[in-house]
């Protein structure tokens, strides 16, 4: 707290002044990094940028529908809470979803007399990213389950988050499960009570919810979910 509060200036410069060389080297290396980043990323530029197509949905440059209008009928399921012993949604009729897949073809998830397992996936979620190839490997090994329809709903889709667009992600993983894309507001996921990703809902032949679960599944648990939908018995 004296007047001599200013720290000591270095009183001399070193003999052979390499300081200027150090500064020059730092600037040069940063410049090389910048040029390298520009060159590499411009040569990597793929033709997929987000092109908003009004409120109806998002169609990317390759023509894929990443989000689209989903019409929902029926009563929304309560929000999923994994800590509750008995899920209040069990036995409730699942809402009907009508929308499109990545290619824009119409897809409906309705009470059509067939059991089904619906998976809600977020492209940016590392757990979904880990789960998708695991499920696909299981399906490749075991075949599509007989008598149970599978459907994936890419949701929480936004170009502001990594691994966008979800169509590139799922196609890249050779995903064979039918897809119904959610809306920009994730209305389908909300109607099914989604609170976290990945999220699975098993529905029996009468259109009633028999199981809901969230988080990465072992393939045993995935197979049990399919059995629950098929038999209509809650686990």
């Amino acid at each position: 707290m004296t007047s001599a509060r200013r720290a000591t200036p270095t009183p001399t410069t070193p003999g052979p002044n390499r300081t200027i060389w150090i500064v020059g080297a730092v600037v040069l290396v940063i410049g090389i990094a910048l040029v390298a980043a520009i060159v590499v990323s411009s040569s990597n530029k793929a033709g997929s940028g987000g092109t908003p197509a009004g409120s109806a949905g998002t169609v990317v440059a390759n023509g894929s529908n990443e989000t689209a209008t989903v019409s929902i009928t029926g009563t929304a399921l309560p929000a999923f809470d994994g800590s509750v012993a008995v899920d209040p949604a069990l036995g409730q009729a699942a809402p009907t979803l009508t929308g499109v897949n990545f290619a824009g073809q119409s897809v409906t998830i309705a009470n059509d007399g067939k059991p089904k397992v619906i998976m809600f996936l977020a492209h940016w979620c590392p757990h979904c990213q880990a789960e998708v190839p695991r499920i696909q490997n299981w399906l490749d090994a075991n075949g599509m389950p007989s008598g149970v329809d599978l459907c994936a709903v890419p949701t929480a889709t936004t170009s502001a988050r990594p691994n966008y667009p979800p169509s590139d992600w799922l196609v890249g993983k050779n995903w064979t499960v039918p897809v119904l894309v959610d809306s920009e507001q994730s209305e389908a996921a909300n109607a099914y009570g989604l609170t976290s990703f990945p999220y699975f809902v098993a529905i029996d032949a009468s259109g009633k919810v028999v199981a809901r679960t969230s988080g990465e599944l072992s393939m045993d648990a995935f197979a049990k979910l399919i059995d629950a939908a098929r038999t209509g018995k809650t686990q």
């Binding site: 150090i22 990094a33 979620c125 757990h127 979904c128 609170t195 990703f197």
Partner: protein, 194 residues
């Protein structure tokens, strides 16, 4: 510039910080063991620059983090915020220290940057191995989400970690007075002298 370009550039800068920190550590060892070597000379010449280099890194990291949240639109998670809290003040503190040639600033900077580095290290391994925290993502910004993933290991917290480490290395380089410091007249701010 696209986000991809900025991400790659930032990743390269992080690797430069890593290379710089390793180089400085080697120079410091050479300086200690062989004071007459060229490496020791380079180390001496680095001293007057060290605080400026630390400041440049702090500013680049601060601006980079603001770019990723406000321009690229990435939502910062909780751990990101803790690292920001440790990094942003450094861009001001180090400027003042560099202007004042305050070699003792390491006393203030190392705890702050050290805490930031610890959080960044935890966050880095969490993004590298996301399965340990939980098996699901919530709708809010999860700390496991890899907004940037260059070269198979460079994430945003890795960049923060490299910046913190480099800043710590630089303030420690500035700490020890140069060989000529016996001429210094100021005793008020010499607490860092070893």
């Amino acid at each position: 510039m696209s986000t991809a370009t900025v991400s790659l550039f930032a990743a390269l800068l992080a690797l430069l910080c890593l290379a710089g920190s390793v180089t400085v550590a080697v120079l410091a060892l050479m300086h200690r063991s062989r004071p007459d070597s060229i490496a020791a000379g380079v180390f001496e010449d680095l001293r007057p620059l060290a605080l400026w280099l630390a400041w440049v890194v702090a500013v680049a990291t601060t601006l980079g983090s603001l770019y990723f949240s406000d321009v690229a639109g990435f939502i910062p998670c909780k751990l990101c915020w803790y690292q920001r809290i440790a990094m942003y003040p450094l861009s001001v503190v180090l400027l003042v220290a560099a202007l004042r040639r305050d070699r003792s600033v390491w006393v203030y900077v190392t705890p702050l940057a050290g805490i930031g580095a610890l959080i960044a290290a935890y966050h880095t391994q969490l993004q590298a191995f996301p399965d340990q925290s939980s098996s699901f993502c919530t709708t809010a910004a999860p700390c496991t989400e890899r907004y940037v993933w260059e070269f198979g290991f460079v994430s945003l917290p890795f960049m923060a970690l490299m910046a913190f480490v480099f800043i710590i290395a630089m303030v420690l380089v500035a700490r020890v007075p140069a060989a000529v410091s016996s001429r210094s007249t100021d005793s008020d701010l010499q607490i860092g002298v070893s």
